[in-house]
């Protein structure tokens, strides 16, 4: 029965270390809420541009059906546009998930018994949203068939959707690359930066730094620079390995590659500074370990890396809006798969720069040069 002594010892240690208890009990509940709401939710508020070039009877009915989808299940957020070219450009810049074009002769074709065609341009990089969008428009077309019976018996069964992808095909494995890069950035920033610092502090190594003429900026800047170097290199290695495994390429050439490097560097610096601001004063590496898993879950899963942000409940969507990983994933996706230019990722990059500056400020306030 001597094993009971071991058991008693472990239980006492656990009870006397509340952080371990919190990690063991509370974290899974937080994970459940975050992960549970990050997957398999019904997609809502998909931003879609509708270009109705036909104002005939069946075109109007198509529009009405799509407005019903917006008002009812809230699947779509419709924007009415006149110029299909401009709408498609905006979709390429990430403003819309897709563009629906009802051509000028749609009602006429339907009325004449010909096949009525609806054009649809989807942002196929977000495969889940693209499929949901196609489903919604097919549903709208189907509703016309059921709801309207006319004496002239138009060919309602033959309203056809002509889907077009705005970008080259991105399979599921490739679609995960931006998320994996961002996760590598996060893990790298944690392990190279604050974990090393707290471990050195715990072992007493920092004491011999603090008695030298190094300023707090020397110490913080050095840790940041080494962390960003390692983390960014790690992110780039993950990027190239991902492309190698999935046999993918970077749309957009060398400029796109440079922009990607910029996003990874700025994102890594922001994450490094964030982990310092949150955990820089921890006295034991155990705290860093406990929090790292927590931070990883609450930042990664609501980032849109795996499932679109549009499927999240409103509270999680609001969180995702201010989550740096959402912007890093979005920017990397746009550059990597869409060949977007610097201007197209300007919003995400601005957010990442702002986040980095804010976190650097908080980290500098939190960083102490004395014991």
């Amino acid at each position: 029965m001597r094993f009971l002594a071991i058991m008693r010892r472990d239980l006492r240690k656990l009870v006397r270390n509340p952080m371990t208890l919190i990690t063991t009990i509370l974290m899974p509940i937080v994970y459940l809420v975050i992960i549970g709401n990050s997957f398999q939710g019904q997609l809502k508020h998909l931003p879609v541009a509708l270009v109705a070039q036909d104002h005939g009877l069946y075109a109007r009915r198509m529009v009405e059906e799509m407005l019903a989808l917006q008002a009812g299940p809230k699947t779509l957020d419709l924007s009415f546009r006149d110029d299909p070219g401009a709408a498609i450009k905006d979709a390429r810049d990430g403003v819309y998930k897709g563009v629906i074009v009802i051509p000028p002769n749609f009602s006429h074709d339907v009325a004449e018994g010909r096949i009525g065609e609806i054009g649809m341009f989807t942002d196929n990089v977000d495969g889940v949203s693209a499929t949901a969008l196609e489903g919604a428009v097919t549903e709208a077309a189907g509703a016309i068939r059921i709801s309207f019976v006319t004496a002239r018996e138009p060919k309602l069964n033959e309203i056809a959707l002509r889907p077009s992808w705005l970008y080259p095909y991105v399979d599921y494995d490739r679609s995960l690359i931006p998320g994996v890069i961002v996760m590598a950035m996060f893990m790298g920033s944690l392990m190279c930066g604050v974990f090393n610092w707290v471990m050195d502090k715990f072992m007493g190594v920092t004491e011999c730094y603090l008695v030298t003429p190094l300023s707090r900026w020397d110490i913080a800047g050095g840790i940041l620079a080494s962390g960003v170097t390692i983390t960014s290199t790690g992110g780039m290695i993950v990027l190239f390995m991902g492309l190698l495994i999935t046999r993918g390429t970077i749309e957009g050439g060398p400029i796109a590659l440079l922009t990607l490097v910029g996003i990874i560097v700025v994102g890594s610096a922001g994450l490094l500074a964030m982990t310092f601001a949150v955990l820089g004063r921890a006295g034991h590496p155990r705290l860093v370990g406990a929090f790292s898993g927590f931070l990883n879950v609450i930042l990664f899963f609501p980032s849109g890396a795996i499932y679109p942000v549009e499927s999240f409940p409103p509270w999680l969507r609001t969180f995702a809006k201010y989550n740096p990983e959402t912007h890093a994933v979005s920017a990397i996706k746009q550059i990597l798969f869409k060949g977007a230019d610097f201007a197209a990722v300007g919003g995400d990059l601005m957010f990442l720069v702002g986040f980095m500056l804010l976190m650097l400020l908080l980290a500098s306030i939190s960083f102490k040069r004395t014991l």
Partner: protein
């Protein structure tokens, strides 16, 4: 920068409080340039807090400290340029080689590559690690790491070197090697050394003067010889009796050939005398006359340890209760309980 004190180390009413707990209480002393100054004291006496204030790691709550003539509170950055610190914990980077540890540390002090190479090689030779300088520190023994850290702490030729328990946990050979190094340093340079230690023999053989710290105060400060002269009796007789040490203590108390009698546990006594060999037969006779029997008896010259015990007493210094943070738990470093 103009010196504000001619001493290598000077404290004036230096105080450190953590909440209502006073760890260092109005400490004043002065250390001359080139002196090896020892800080002795029981656990929790305030030695480490005192050294941490002198090395700019903790700001004083009150009073002033000057190191290399510069006010530690007002110009910590300037003080850091002039001090070398060897903390108690082994702090060399395990993932770097011995040379890399020394070289990078020299860079912290703004030394040029040439200066680092010249001084670093000389110091590594001095500490006997030249042959192993390109091996990872992870492969070094504790003694080698300590010697490396002494070399690292001297890379910028500091005016004052602070050593906190430099030989703790080392085997006798490594301890002797560190002592030899400090002796060599003392002979070859004008460096001032502040040595915190628990080892009385270390303090006695290395230090010019010793401060005994207890309860946050300096309770005695003198040369080892001077400290010994304060304690009555030049010899110590330790004896154990079979039955009743308290009764024998009462019998021996007041004997003209003894300068003091101290109980040391249930059956042991420590006797102070000016002539041990003369006093032993008299003590044996007195014990027998009192109806008891001596089971062991030894005589030795007064040591610094006796002096230390004389000043600090025999009571064990258990540290006060500490407040356990609900957030971090019992397994983490804790702050002292605010009283």
């Amino acid at each position: 920068m103009e010196r504000e004190s001619a001493a290598a180390i000077e404290t004036r009413g230096l105080t450190k409080r953590f909440g209502s707990f006073t760890a260092v209480d109005k400490v004043s002393f002065s250390v001359a340039p080139g002196e090896v100054f020892g800080l002795l004291g029981p656990n929790g006496a305030g030695k480490t807090t005192l050294v941490r204030m002198l090395t700019t790691l903790l700001p004083p709550s009150q009073g002033h400290a000057y190191v290399a003539g510069i006010d530690v509170g007002r110009h910590p950055h300037n003080v850091r340029k002039l001090i070398g610190v060897i903390p108690q914990a082994l702090t060399s980077d395990l993932d770097l080689t011995g040379w890399e540890n020394v070289d990078i540390y020299g860079e912290f002090f703004g030394l040029s590559r040439r200066e680092r190479r010249m001084r670093g090689q000389r110091l590594l030779e001095m500490v006997g690690l030249k042959e192993r300088q390109h091996d990872l520190v992870a492969t070094y023994s504790g003694g080698m790491r300590r010697r490396l850290e002494i070399a690292r702490g001297l890379i910028h030729s500091p005016d004052v070197l602070f050593l906190d328990e430099p030989t703790i946990g080392l085997d006798p050979q490594s301890r002797r090697a560190v002592w030899d190094l400090l002796e060599q340093l003392r002979k070859e340079s004008e460096i001032t050394i502040s040595l915190t230690t628990h080892y009385m023999d270390e303090a006695e053989s290395l230090c010019d003067r010793i401060a005994i710290v207890d309860g946050g105060k300096v309770i005695a400060l003198d040369t080892p010889v001077g400290l010994k002269s304060v304690v009555p009796g030049s010899d110590r007789i330790d004896l154990a009796v079979e039955h009743d040490a308290a009764k024998i203590a009462a019998v021996l108390e007041g004997q003209p050939y003894l300068r003091g009698v101290t109980r040391d546990g249930e059956s042991r006594l420590s006797l102070a005398t000016d002539d041990g060999s003369h006093a032993i037969p008299l003590v044996l006779g007195a014990v027998e006359a009192a109806g008891d029997r001596v089971t062991s008896i030894t005589v030795h010259k007064l040591s610094l340890e006796d002096v230390f015990i004389h000043f600090t007493g025999r009571t064990l210094r258990d540290e006060g209760a500490k407040k356990v943070s609900l957030l971090v738990g019992a397994g983490m470093p804790q702050q002292p309980m605010r009283r």
